[in-house]
Symmetry: D2
Subunit: 313 residues, 4 copies
C-alpha cells in the first residue's frame, strides 16, 4: 500500500536478511500451540501442528529460509492464485463476466450469497469463484491439471512437485459442499463442463504439495511486476500483477481479509494447509507455513510471522 521507508535492510546483504528472518521465526514460534489443524478432510488432519517454516524470495532471485521451509505441505487455496493467473492469461478480462472482483463478506464456502447473486461468485478466491476459474481452465486446456502442475514446477524451478494423491482422494470423498457450490453455479449456467471434471481439476490443484521455498519463488512474479526470474519471462503484465495484488489485498485471506490488511497491510493468500504467501511489491515474496489455523482458516503462526515482518519493514 505504500512506499515504505527503511526497507533498505533487505538489499543490504545476505547475512542481515538471514538474521532478520531467523529473528522473526524465533519470535513467531512462541505462538506454536495456538489454533487447530484443519480437520475437514482426514488427509490434512494428521499434519504436525508444530511445524513452522518461512522462506523469502527477493526480486533479484535470492532465497532465505528459516525453520521447516523445505518441507512440502498441501497448498490448498494458495493454488487459487495459480488458477486465476492462468485463466487471466487465457481469457483476459472476459473472465470477469463470470466472476466478480469484490470481497464476499461471507464464509469462503457460503452458498447463500452464490444463490442470491445468481451463480456469479463474488471473487476468484472464494471456493465458488475458484471453481468457476477451474471450469474455464477445463475448457481452455485438454489436460488442465497437467498445465497447472507444469506452471507450478516451472515458476518454482522445482520439477519434482507432485499432486498428493491421498489428499486428492480425501478431497474427492468429502466433496459434498464444494459439489453443492459447483452444481448451484451450474444451475445458473456458469459452469460449462461436467461438474465432476471441474471438481477433479479444482481438487487436484488444491492437492499440490509444495514447500515454502517453492511457493515464494513461484509467486515472486507478483512482487516483480509480473516477471518470473525462473522462467525468464514476463509471466503476466506489470499492470495485471498489480491488479492481482489488489485482489489479494481485498479478498485473499478468506473472511478476514480486512483484518489482515489492517494489521499486516500486504497482499496475501492463505490455504487451510497452513501456508500463507504474501507479496511486498517491488521487493520480495514470502511464504510462511504452520498447520494450526484460527477460526477464519488462516495459520496462526504464519500470520503472526507476517505481522512481525510487516512491522519491521
Amino acid at each position: 500500500m505504500s512506499s515504505r521507508p527503511g526497507t533498505s535492510s533487505l538489499t543490504d546483504g545476505t547475512e542481515d536478511i538471514q538474521a532478520w528472518l531467523e529473528d522473526i521465526h524465533q519470535q513467531a514460534r512462541t505462538r506454536l500451540g495456538q489454533g487447530h489443524v484443519a480437520s475437514y478432510i482426514p488427509a490434512l488432519s494428521t499434519q504436525d501442528a508444530n511445524r513452522f517454516g518461512i522462506a523469502i524470495c527477493t526480486n533479484d532471485g535470492r532465497v532465505y529460509t528459516a525453520g521447516d521451509a523445505r518441507e512440502p505441505f498441501s497448498v490448498q487455496s494458495i493454488s487459487k492464485v495459480f488458477l486465476l493467473t492462468l485463466s487471466l492469461r487465457a481469457f483476459g478480462n472476459a473472465l470477469w463476466e463470470r466472476v466478480g472482483l469484490n470481497p464476499s463478506g461471507m464464509p469462503f464456502n457460503s452458498l447463500a450469497q452464490l444463490e442470491a447473486e445468481r451463480g456469479k461468485p463474488r471473487n476468484p478466491f472464494i471456493n465458488a469463484g475458484a471453481i468457476v476459474v477451474a471450469d474455464s481452465l477445463v475448457s481452455a486446456f485438454a489436460t488442465p491439471v497437467q498445465v497447472i502442475q507444469d506452471a507450478a514446477r516451472r515458476l518454482s524451478g522445482n520439477a519434482s512437485i507432485l499432486i498428493d494423491r491421498d489428499v486428492l482422494a480425501s478431497e474427492w470423498k468429502h466433496r459434498s459442499r464444494n459439489a453443492a457450490m459447483a452444481y448451484l453455479t451450474k444451475a445458473f449456467g456458469n459452469i460449462n463442463n461436467e461438474v465432476d471434471d471441474v471438481l477433479y481439476a479444482y481438487f487436484a490443484c488444491c492437492s499440490l504439495s509444495m514447500n515454502c521455498v517453492d511457493l515464494a519463488v513461484a509467486l515472486n512474479y507478483l512482487a516483480a511486476e509480473g516477471y518470473s526470474r525462473k522462467t525468464d519471462e514476463q509471466f503476466v503484465e506489470a499492470e495485471l500483477a498489480r491488479r492481482i495484488n489488489s485482489l489479494l489485498f481485498t479478498s485473499g485471506m478468506y473472511d478476514a481479509a480486512g483484518e489482515f490488511a489492517y494489521r499486516v497491510g500486504l497482499p496475501a493468500k492463505s490455504g487451510v494447509g497452513g501456508g500463507i504467501v504474501a507479496i511486498v511489491p517491488g521487493q520480495f515474496s514470502v511464504c510462511a507455513w504452520s498447520p494450526a489455523l484460527d477460526d477464519n482458516g488462516n495459520s496462526v503462526v504464519a500470520q503472526y510471522a507476517l505481522e512481525l515482518m510487516s512491522d519491521r519493514l
Copy 2:
C-alpha cells in the same frame, strides 16, 4: 500497494503537475452525462450533474486544481473518515470491540448482515459502522458535532466550513432506514446514547459542505504518515495512517471496493454527494467530485479521473 515507478513527475515542478492534472480533467469530463445524481434525499437531488472538480495536495503542501475544485458540495460518507480518525484518537483499539474491520459484501445500508452479526457492524465505512463510531463520539465529547466541524476546519485550513442546514434537515426527515439501523444496533446493546442524538451527530457530519481543495488538504495526513501540515502536528501515528489506508482500500468504496482496488489500486472513500478522496501514500492526497453516481453510489466521473490518474502514476 506498491512503490510505483515513474511517479517522479509529481515532484518535478509545478507546471508539469498542473498540466498533468488538467489533462486528466479534460479526459475524464468526457464521461459527464453518465450516471444519476443521488435522489434519496431531496436536498442532494438538485445538484448540477455537470459539475466536475479535482484537487491534489502534495505532501510538501502544494495544491493543484482543475475544474470546479473550489465549489462546496455535501461530503456525505467521506465524513466517515473524520469520524473514524477522531474515534480512534479517543478510544484507540477499543473501538474495534464495537466495529469490525472486514469488508461487508453487502450494500452499505443493509440490515440483514447487521442482524445476523448481532449488531456489530462489519466496518466503520458502512452506515451502521459509522453510526456506532458517531455514538462513541457522542459519548466522548459534550459537543461532538462542534468537535468534528472544528477538525475539518483546522485540517483543511478553511475556517468557513459549515454544515449545510438544508441537507441536515433533509437527512433527518428521511432518516427511516438509518434510524432502523441505529435502533437495531441499539437492540443488540451497541449504541449507548439516545438514537436521536446519535443520528443527529451522524447526519450533521454527513452534511458538512466542503470543496475538493478542503478535502484533499484535510485528509493529506493519510498520505503523509499521519502528519498534518496545516495543523503542524502528528494527527495520527504513521502506523495508524497506514492502517486507515488499508481499511479504505478494502472497504472505502461501498460495495465496489474490490473493483475499485483492482482498477485503481488506491485507498479511497466516496460519498453520495459525488466526492471521492484517494490517497497515494508518501506522495499526495486527491479529491475528485462530480455529482452523478453509478449503481454503487460512487461518482462516475470522479472514479474515472482517479483511474486515469492511477494509470499515469
Copy 3:
C-alpha cells in the same frame, strides 16, 4: 381441519365438560417447571412461572374454567388478532396490499426478510405485520388505542379490562428492535404515520391485561362463524372468520406454526405473556395460560394443555 368424531361430549352437559377440562388441567400441570418466563422486558419477567389457567367458551355461551383462569396477564401478541380483525373491518382486502398472507419461516422479529421483501411483512402475526396493521388503525381512528380497548371490553363483556401501564412503559423503554422494524417498514413507504405514534398504539394493545375467560369469550366469534354472543352482532362475516382461522393455523404460533398444526391441529395465537387462544370451529374457543415459554416463545404448559385437548376431541 376435520369433522372430528367424538366431540359430542362437549355438548352433553356441564358436568362432563367441567370434569374433562379439570382432567386436562391436572395432567398438563405436570409440565410446570419447564421453559422460561419471558425476559425481554422486565415487566414480564416477574411473572410467577407456576400459574396456569384454562377457560373454554362454547358457541352457546357457556364458560368452563380450571386453575388460574381469572387471573389477568399480558395478552402480548394475542392482541394481534384484535388488531387484524379491526383493520379488516375497516379496510377489507385492501389491507392485503400492505401485508402478506404467507408463513414467515423466520423468527417473529426478523429484519432480514422484511428488508428482502421491501417492507411488506409476511403476515399480520409477525411483529412487523402487526405494526403495519397498527399503522392502519392509527390512520383509521382518532383514538385507536381506545377503539381496541373498547373492542376487547365489549367482546369479552368485561368492562374493567385495562392497559397495564407498567408493561407499556417497559415495552416503550425496550422498543429498539420493534422501532428498527417500524423504521425499516417506513423506509419502504409502508408506514404512513409517525413511528412513535404507531409503536405506542402497538405496545398499548400488547399491554392489555386480560384473563383466560376474557380471551376465550372475546375471541369466540372465530369459533362461531363470526358471531359475537356478547355483543349480539355478526362481528365479522362467517367467511372472514374462516379465513382468519386459516391464517392462525398457518402463522399464529410464531415460527412453530407448522409443528403446532401437526401436533394439535387447531387455529391458535400465542403471546409471550404465556397465553394461547385456540379455536375449535363450530364448537368453542379456548384460552390457556402459563407464563413459562419454550424456545419459540410459546407457553410450554398451555401448548401441552391444548395438545391434550386436541387428542381427546
Copy 4:
C-alpha cells in the same frame, strides 16, 4: 378447518354432484390462457396449456369427473405426499429428526435456508425435504422406486401407472439445482446414500404419470381417516392422516401455502406438472389439473377450480 355446513349435497346423489362438478369446471375454464407452462425442464414445457381436468373421489368410493380427468400428466411434487407417507410408515416420528415441520417462507428450491439451518430441511414438501425423505426410502428399501410405483398403483387401483422415461431423463439432465441441494444436505450429514442414487429415486417419483382420477383415488386415504378403500386397509392411522393434512395445509402449496389456506382453506399439494390434490376431510379427495402455472408454481386454473369448490361447500 371446520365442520362446514351445507356439504350434504355431496352425499345426496350422483347427478347433483356431477352437475355441481361440471359447473365448477365450466366456470374455472374461463381462466385458461393465464399463467405459463413449466419450462424448467424441456419435457414438461411441451404440455398443452388448454388441458383441464378435475376428478372427485368420495369417501364412499364414488368417482366424478369433468374435462380431461383421465389424461395422464407428470405428478411432480404431488409425489412428495407418497414419499412422506411411505417414509412415515417405515420410520414413524424418527423422520422428524431429519426434516422439520414448519413452513419455509422461502422458494421451494432455496439453498440459503438449508445452509442456515445446517442441512435440516424445513418440511417434507420443499425439494430438500423430499430429497431427505427419498434418502430414507433408499435406505429402507432395496428397490425404492418400485415400492413407490407399486403404492401408487395399488392405492389408485390403476396397475398401468408408469414412470415417464422422457421426463425422468430430462429431470436428470437438468438436475443441477436439486443436486446442489442434495450435496449441501449431505455436507451436513443428512443424506446417507450416494447423492446420485437418492436423486434418481426422487426424480423417478416426480416422473410418475398419473391422471386426475388416479390421484384423487390414490390420496383418498387422507380424506378417509387413513383408510384406503382400494386396498381395503388402514393405510395410515387416522391421527397420522390428520397430521399429514395439517402439514399440507401449512406447507403444501409451495411459498403460497398461506394465501391458498386463506382463500381456499383446504389441505392441498400442487406439482409443477399442473396438478393439485386437495382434501376435504371426512368427505372426499379431489384432483384438478391444468398445466399453466402462476409465479408460485401452482396451476392457475386448478387453483381457481378448488377456490370455487371451497366457496360452494
